[in-house]
């Protein structure tokens, strides 16, 4: 740093040149400049003008801009080389696709959640169960992925209603992995109502992670997540405690979905997570897919109201950290990793090229293959745009080179999309062709009208303002990014 500062002190006006940069006005007195990989510097509007005009004489500012690869001395080669290395590091996931393989082992569920995005089938109708033959063919495709890590996630419906197949797939995957030698992990996404000792024994033996749903306080959760006996919350809380006790506190995580009824209660929701010893909360909006899109899922709120909820919730989480209770807001932590490091957290919604297919593949109970879980949800509404093939007659090449995958990937790349290409937040954001197809009818979407764009722009702006103004928050976000 000293070297850079000394070098910068020698810079006369017009003695440097701009590197590729983008800007966003955070408020009337502050602008954030970002480079090609998202490294940033805060400046004033006047400083922005002087930098672009080449008249800036503020040596301290020039040193910061040079250190962040926003300007360089003409003839230098190192900044471009370093930017290229960082860019390549961020793209490392591309040749190592696909890490996440979702097995929908049944569509059956004993819950009837208001916002459920997939078909609700009676718990007795086993024609909606995946068969061993379908699962075997799906596993063969999953192991064709170049990724050295494979995560197999069991979803439904409620996957524990087809627990024998969960056990079979796990055993079979471990057997196949003796040849492939991948870093193999298993997750069961379950409401925990069917958890018993046999399942806990299995999870302990196979190192299975549990992902569950917890929408907040009892009345809110049970209002959203209905089941006979109206005891979904009790079952989830008891299940979380049993998993923590038996498998360890880090082997269970929970997700919440924000319905209209949640909007006024962010602190209560977060406090329930804290009471249960859960270290992470993902303040998610309801998905614009499946039944939720039909207005039955408590989705009757706009982006602005969700953002108010998010901001209050984030403040509550920061306050808990100040009080000595470590807790992470997971969406902010994903963004922090993209803002503050060159690692790609691989979160499907916030990647470009999009994460569909590259980041995840979904094997439906009947053998149909989808580019993402949201693509499967659309299919349940009759839109099969993101169906890539079937395990029964598609090869790995058929799937990964299909028009159904390549068209949305190529059409939605943010580096060439209108508005995204010049957006300061492009390195933090993603393409999400499924969202834009579902809400606007094309894979790119009109970003000025896109709820995805507004939500993410506002979250990025919120996080940057807080980092600029609050050193405690800045340090906390750095910790979350690690």
């Amino acid at each position: 740093m000293l070297k850079l500062e000394r070098a910068a002190t020698a810079l006369p006006a017009h003695g440097w040149q701009l590197l590729p940069l983008r800007f966003h006005r955070l408020d009337a007195d502050s602008v954030v400049l970002t480079n090609l990989v998202g490294e940033y510097v805060f400046v004033t509007p006047d400083e922005l003008s002087a930098v672009v005009d080449g008249t800036c004489a503020d040596q301290e500012l020039l040193a910061r801009l040079r250190a962040a690869h926003l300007i360089q001395v003409p003839g230098e080669t190192l900044p471009a080389e370093l930017l290229a290395i960082k860019l390549r590091t961020r793209m490392r996931r591309l040749p190592d696709s696909t890490g996440l393989h979702i097995f929908v082992v049944t569509l059956r569920c004993e819950h009837t959640c208001r916002y459920c995005q997939v078909s609700r089938q009676s718990a007795a109708k086993n024609e909606f169960d995946m068969t061993e033959e379908t699962a075997r063919r799906a596993l063969e495709l999953a192991f064709r992925s170049p990724s050295p890590q494979l995560k197999i996630e069991f979803q439904g419906g409620e996957p524990l209603l087809n627990f024998p197949l969960v056990r079979w797939i796990t055993t079979e995957a471990n057997r196949m992995n003796k040849v492939h030698g991948k870093d193999l992990a298993f997750v069961i996404a379950t409401n925990l109502a069917l958890l018993d000792e046999e399942i806990l024994d299995f999870c302990a033996q196979e190192q299975v992670h549990i992902s569950t749903s917890l929408d907040g306080p009892q009345d809110l959760h049970n209002g959203n997540r209905r089941r006979p006996g109206q005891d979904s919350w009790q079952q989830a809380v008891e299940g979380i405690r049993r998993v923590q006790e038996r498998l360890g506190p880090d082997r269970v995580s929970a997700l919440m979905t924000t319905t209209e009824a949640s909007l006024g209660r962010p602190a209560e929701i977060i406090d329930i997570y804290a009471e249960l010893g859960l270290r992470g909360v993902f303040l998610r909006p309801v998905s614009p897919y499946g039944f939720a899109l039909r207005g039955r899922g408590g989705a009757n709120y706009d982006v602005g109201r969700w953002l108010e909820f998010y901001a209050v919730g984030l403040d509550r989480i920061v306050e808990l950290n100040r009080q000595g209770m470590p807790m992470v807001e997971i969406y902010a932590s994903i963004i922090a990793k993209k803002m503050l490091t060159n690692a790609d957290p691989g979160y499907v919604d916030l990647t470009s090229p999009a994460g569909i297919g590259i980041g995840a593949l979904v094997y439906n109970y009947d053998g149909d293959i989808y580019a993402s879980d949201e693509g499967r949800m659309l299919a349940e509404m009759g839109d099969h745009t993101f169906r890539l093939g079937t395990v029964h007659d598609s090869s790995y090449a058929d799937i990964m080179l299909s028009d159904a995958l390549l068209n949305p990937l190529t059409e939605s790349i943010t580096l060439s999309a209108p508005m995204c290409a010049t957006c300061a937040f492009e390195p933090y954001c993603g393409a999400d062709p499924v969202f834009h197809h579902a809400t606007m009818g094309d894979f790119t979407g009109h970003k000025a009208l896109s709820a995805f764009c507004r939500r993410n722009m506002d979250v990025f702006t919120l996080l940057l303002r807080k980092m600029r103004d609050d050193s405690y928050f800045r340090d906390l976000l750095w910790r979350w990014a690690q």
């Binding site: 701009l18 590729p20 800007f23 509007p45 290395i85 390549r88 508005m419």
Partner: protein, 121 residues
């Protein structure tokens, strides 16, 4: 022109026989590309018609909300145009370096055709 995009810059008020909201931009100082980008970016608030009229581009603003204030819309569009002008300037200055960085980044990844073997299919 000043790149102080937060403040109204060029964009003289054009006259109109009707109550249309119009702004004129001198073709010598504002690229059509910047105007079109600005029109795209404000699409949630207004739609914009752009026509060539002598030495000017004349933009007619059509608010999406019928009770939107004319002056606020003009300020909003001028500010967006100024930011887009600045973005176009930056892009022109930095394009060769941008291409260099991308060429360096993707020349050794194995992703480029013929660079290395692709994923096993």
């Amino acid at each position: 022109m000043s790149p102080a995009g937060g403040e109204p810059g060029p964009g003289a008020e054009a006259t109109s026989a009707s109550a249309e909201i119009m702004l004129a931009f001198d073709q010598a100082t504002v690229d059509l590309d910047a105007l079109q980008r600005a029109a795209y970016a404000v699409a949630a608030e207004m739609t914009v018609d752009i026509r060539v009229c002598g030495p000017d581009y004349v933009c007619t603003l059509f608010p999406r909300e019928p009770d939107a204030a004319d002056e606020a819309l003009k300020h909003r569009f001028r500010a967006e145009v100024n930011d887009q002008v600045l973005r176009v300037r930056i892009a022109k200055q930095t394009e060769p370096l941008r291409n260099l960085v991308f060429a360096l980044a993707f020349s050794q990844t194995g992703l480029a055709e013929g660079d290395a073997e692709g994923p096993a299919c």
